[in-house]
Amino acid sequence: MDRPSSSAEHGVEARGVTRAFGTVPALRGMDITVPYGQVTALVGPNGAGKTTLLLILATLLAPDAGHIRVAGHDLRADPEAARVHLGWMPDVFGVYDQLTVDEYLAFFADAYRLPAAERPRRIRALLALVHLEEYLGQPVHVLSRGQKQRLGVARSLIHKPRVLLLDEPASGLDPRSRVELRDLLRSLAAEGVAVLVSSHVLGELEEMADRVVLVDHGRTVGEHRMGDLAGAARPRWRVRALDPGGLAAALDGRPEVGEVSELPGGCELGPLTEAQAAGLLADLVARKVPVVEFGPATGALESVYLAMTENRR
């Protein structure tokens, strides 16, 4: 994989990106950084502008304003140069149903001007990567929705892009395929690719992303390292004890533990920070409450996301 010729250290650097459709603003100033070798998650509610941003980063849509560099190339000045290093998979896309799986990939290999000698090997390697090797020579229309999604991933990787943009790649995938997609994106990041994924499935992003960019109403509202989120988040906590009555008694009359709601064999309480939760657990153990489970009820990403979307109401 060739290294960027310029001094760019990030796959994507976008500052102050705006875009309106007619009079309706879709992006009101988005900033995003996607470093090489990491998976960055793009998270936000429906209509936050995720797909618009991805279309702009993919060089399909021109922004009204803003500075964007993809793989070291200014998108305004030279979108063609950026495209060579750019892999893109949209949320909904068509495949040529009339072609076979390998014809489909061969067509894109030619369209990206891959050397003909390299082509068969590249196609086999990609089909193995997305677990479709047994479909070599089969028509695309026999593939299931999830398999077509994986073929789309293979297509977006055909020219060995250094920057990979995926819009809701996990939608329509079964649990097994989701795990495989996660492993695939992790291994691409390990090879130095800058990966940007948008998704609604927050638990899954938590497992695969190194960084998260939170967007809402066309603006970037936060860029965090996934590791920092856990400390900053104030999730609700789920507590289970062998003696639920004793647990309830120990929590009674303590407003600092937040709203306590009954659960079978325990309760949910909070929101608490990790430090507050650790203090509470120590206290419960000291009071000889037989605690068998104590953990966040929601993932760190989900609680941040819920807090963000709650603020706007």
Binding site: I56, L61, A62, R83, P90, F93, Y96, Q98, A111
Partner: protein
């Protein structure tokens, strides 16, 4: 330049492959070939049965009639071949991935146009048996056949380019196919209608004095001012571009008279538009009309191709309502 040809060929091969694997192309083409050639032969038979001892060969009207019908039918089929080449791909969600490759907008437009035009030419080729029968009979020269077929092929290409531009301009494929048909209709009927409406506007009063000194006024139309309105009409272009048949020579004893050949639809049409170009009161033919018509049609096609290429450019600045980018 090599890259352009390679890119366009890649797109064209892909389009043809997809077309061939979609639907029952072979059956459709076979039905088309049978229908056109069958009707052509039937036309010939009806000409023969109406033939009352005239020694004019019936291959001449057959050639003209069949060719005009083939032109009309091919131009009616063509919008269906091309009318959704760009927005159809957009609707299926396959265009954006193509635009992000190293194929340029011109590669994509040219490849798609070549595939559509090639299909149109194949449709034309299937009509050859009945078009070429008069040539085999020796009634029509190969030169006349080649010239008229070449013009027909070019006109098919013009309609392909126009339909493609509509498919690039309009979001929904049903709309672009409709607009393509209206464009063909405008070329055929619109030119005729405009000419028919414009000709009365050219009327000018004329006077002449009789020998007794009385002045008479009358009105005269001047088609030489508006003949060009007819020029883009595909029928006019084809008919006027057809090389003329040798004049009919009749010998009666020592006197031989030369007259225009009978029953030649192409020649008749060509002569009448050239007479319009010459204007009333001129008893000689005007200059050829078809170069103007063909040049206009080709310019239109060139403009349409430019529009298509422009609409395939990314990043897109202005988006129409309801157009999906990807």
């Amino acid at each position: 330049m090599g890259a352009r040809v390679r890119g366009a060929r890649l797109v064209a091969v892909q389009e043809v492959r997809i077309r061939l694997r979609t639907g029952r192309w072979k059956a459709l083409l076979a039905v088309w070939a049978l229908l056109v050639n069958g009707l052509g032969l039937l036309f010939r038979l009806s000409l023969e049965s109406g033939d009352h001892g005239d020694d004019d060969p019936q291959g001449v009207p057959m050639f003209g009639g069949v060719l005009l019908a083939v032109l009309a039918l091919c131009l009616l089929i063509t919008p269906a071949l091309t009318g959704q080449s760009v927005n159809g791909d957009r609707e299926r969600g396959t265009l954006a991935a193509l635009q992000l490759t190293r194929l340029t907008p011109a590669d994509i437009a040219l490849g798609k146009l070549a595939a559509a035009w090639g299909t149109g030419l194949l449709v034309l080729a299937l009509t050859l048996p009945c078009v070429l029968l008069p040539v085999l009979e020796g009634v029509i020269t190969p030169g006349r056949a080649a010239a008229t077929l070449a013009v027909t092929g070019l006109l098919i290409g013009v309609v392909c380019a126009l339909s493609q531009a509509w498919s690039a301009l309009v979001a929904r494929s049903i709309t672009s196919v409709l607009l393509s048909y209206l464009t063909v209709l405008a070329l055929f009927g619109g030119t005729l209608l405009l000419f028919a409406l414009a000709q009365p506007l050219t009327v000018e009063p004329r006077y002449y004095s009789s020998s007794s000194g009385t002045r008479y006024a009358y009105e005269r139309e001047r088609p030489e001012l508006v003949w060009w309105l007819l020029a883009p009409n595909p029928v006019v272009v084809l008919a006027d571009a057809a090389p003329r048949l040798p004049p009919h020579i009749e010998t009666d004893g020592d006197v031989s008279t030369s007259s225009e050949p009978d029953n030649d639809p192409l020649g008749d049409l060509g002569r009448s538009v050239r007479e319009m170009r010459a204007g009333n009161g001129n008893y000689h033919e005007g200059g050829p009309v078809w170069p103007y018509g063909l040049a206009f049609d080709l310019l239109l096609a060139g403009g349409a191709f430019w529009v298509t290429t422009r609409r395939l450019r990314t990043p897109v600045r202005r988006t129409a309502k309801g157009v999906r980018l990807a």
